[in-house]
């Protein structure tokens, strides 16, 4: 009897020992996994830091946003040469219309100067009025966006963020939507939708995102861009592949490239930032162009 009991005890002890060993083994494997994961994380962080270091050393700004194709949205950070800031201020005709006389009107190459429009001190005056639209903005911001919608909205924002509807009365605050001409506001939203469609047909567009969504002006424009990107009712002629921004009567009125014909024109809008052959003004139009050979007219 005693022998059997001892045998059972030994077997039980053996089973317990095996269980403990298995648990220890599992625990060790878990620790190994954690160590491996931490090592990989460290490697990723090191690689990222090295990449950023190399970019910085090469004179680029690693924090500068890229467009959908990985291109720098600005100068890539540029070279930090002494005196460059002064030169930039003096030669940037697109931002400073006051000293343009000696500089040829430069083409509106994108939204570089648009960002500055958001810094307008007038914005603060009308921040309260924008609160009314805040609820709608939040609703859209909280929606999960698919990649295509996000990309289209970024194209719309990048190409139109410097435009606002024309005003019902001159001199009113252009950032307060109560002052907007309703027809112009409707046309601008339609233009946003159309540019979203063009960006899907011809992805050579400027992608941009707001850099400060707590700024009510940027938030509203981003919201409008998202709304346009999700506009399923927008119906643009299937031949349209390009668009052209112009200030009525000033500067270039039509693009230089043959083979394309104007199909529809929307406006007028207020180009607050100005720049190049699309100067500041409330007579800004967006013309949509399509291939001449496939036009059905």
């Amino acid at each position: 009897m005693n022998g059997t009991a001892e045998l059972r005890g030994s077997l039980q002890l053996l089973a317990e020992t095996q269980a403990v060993q298995a648990a220890r083994l599992a625990s060790l494997e878990l620790l190994e996994d954690i160590a491996h994961w931490r090592l990989m994380k460290c490697q990723r962080e090191l690689a990222d830091e090295l990449y950023r270091y190399r970019l910085t050393k090469a004179g680029f700004n690693p924090n500068e946003p890229r467009d959908g194709h990985g291109m720098w949205t600005g100068g890539g950070g540029g070279l930090d040469l002494p005196g460059l800031a002064d030169l930039a201020d003096a030669s940037d005709g697109s931002d400073d219309s006051g000293d343009n006389s000696d500089v040829p009107q430069l083409i509106d190459f994108g939204s570089d100067s648009d960002v500055n429009a958001f810094q307008n001190p007038k914005v603060a005056d009308d921040a309260d009025s924008f609160e009314e639209a805040g609820a709608n903005n939040k609703a859209i911001f909280n929606d999960a966006l698919d990649q295509d919608t996000q990309s289209t909205a970024e194209a719309i924002f990048g190409e139109t963020s410097g435009l606002t509807p024309i005003l019902k009365s001159a001199g009113a605050n252009p950032y307060n939507e109560k002052n907007w001409d309703p027809d112009s506001a409707e046309q601008l939203q339609m233009a946003r939708s159309y540019i979203g469609i063009v960006s899907e047909r011809n992805p050579q567009v400027h992608f941009a995102t707001p850099n400060d969504l707590t700024n009510p002006i940027q938030a509203r424009i981003w919201n409008n861009s998202l709304t346009a990107a999700m506009d399923e009712d927008a119906d643009l002629d299937p031949d349209v592949t390009n668009f052209f921004l112009r200030q009525e009567g000033i500067g270039r009125q039509k693009p230089n490239w043959p083979g394309l014909e104007k199909i529809i024109s929307l406006g007028p809008f207020n180009n607050l930032a100005g720049g190049g052959d699309v100067p500041k003004g409330a007579n800004t139009y967006i013309d949509f162009y399509g291939k001449l050979s496939t036009l059905k007219r």
Binding site: W72, G78, Q105, I107, N202, Q204, P255
Partner: protein, 120 residues
């Protein structure tokens, strides 16, 4: 001898003009430099140079202005079309300095090894 000199002088004038479309323009703010990239007419119908270094340069192109050196080099203008791109070696001259957050504006001084393809 005099005629040979005049001929040589004219040839020199012609060749330097062809090679320097905008290098001597008063708006150039920095030294011209060589860059390889793709010249593309974007959807907004403006011209940009996508460099191999992943930078985007805005190309000044305004053929109506009374400064013929601001036009594109002939080999570029002959091959460039909307919605097409021209890969090649470009010499560009900056109209604005490189600055963080600003797209640099350049003119195309000269170009070679051009290959046309459709926009991707």
């Amino acid at each position: 001898m005099k005629y040979i000199f005049v001929l040589f002088f004219c040839f020199h004038c012609f060749s330097s003009y062809a090679d320097d479309m905008c290098a001597n323009n008063k708006h150039v703010v920095e030294e011209c430099y060589n860059v390889r990239g793709k010249l593309i007419v974007h959807a907004n119908m403006r011209l940009y140079l996508h460099t191999e270094g992943k930078r985007l340069l805005a190309v000044y192109y305004y053929p109506d202005v009374p400064e013929p050196e601001l036009a594109l080099p002939k080999n570029v203008s002959e091959m460039l079309e909307a919605n097409k791109q021209l890969s090649g070696d470009y010499k560009v001259c900056p109209f604005t300095p490189q600055a963080p957050g600003k797209m640099q504006i350049v003119c195309i001084n000269s170009a070679k090894n051009l290959i046309q393809s459709h926009n991707q």
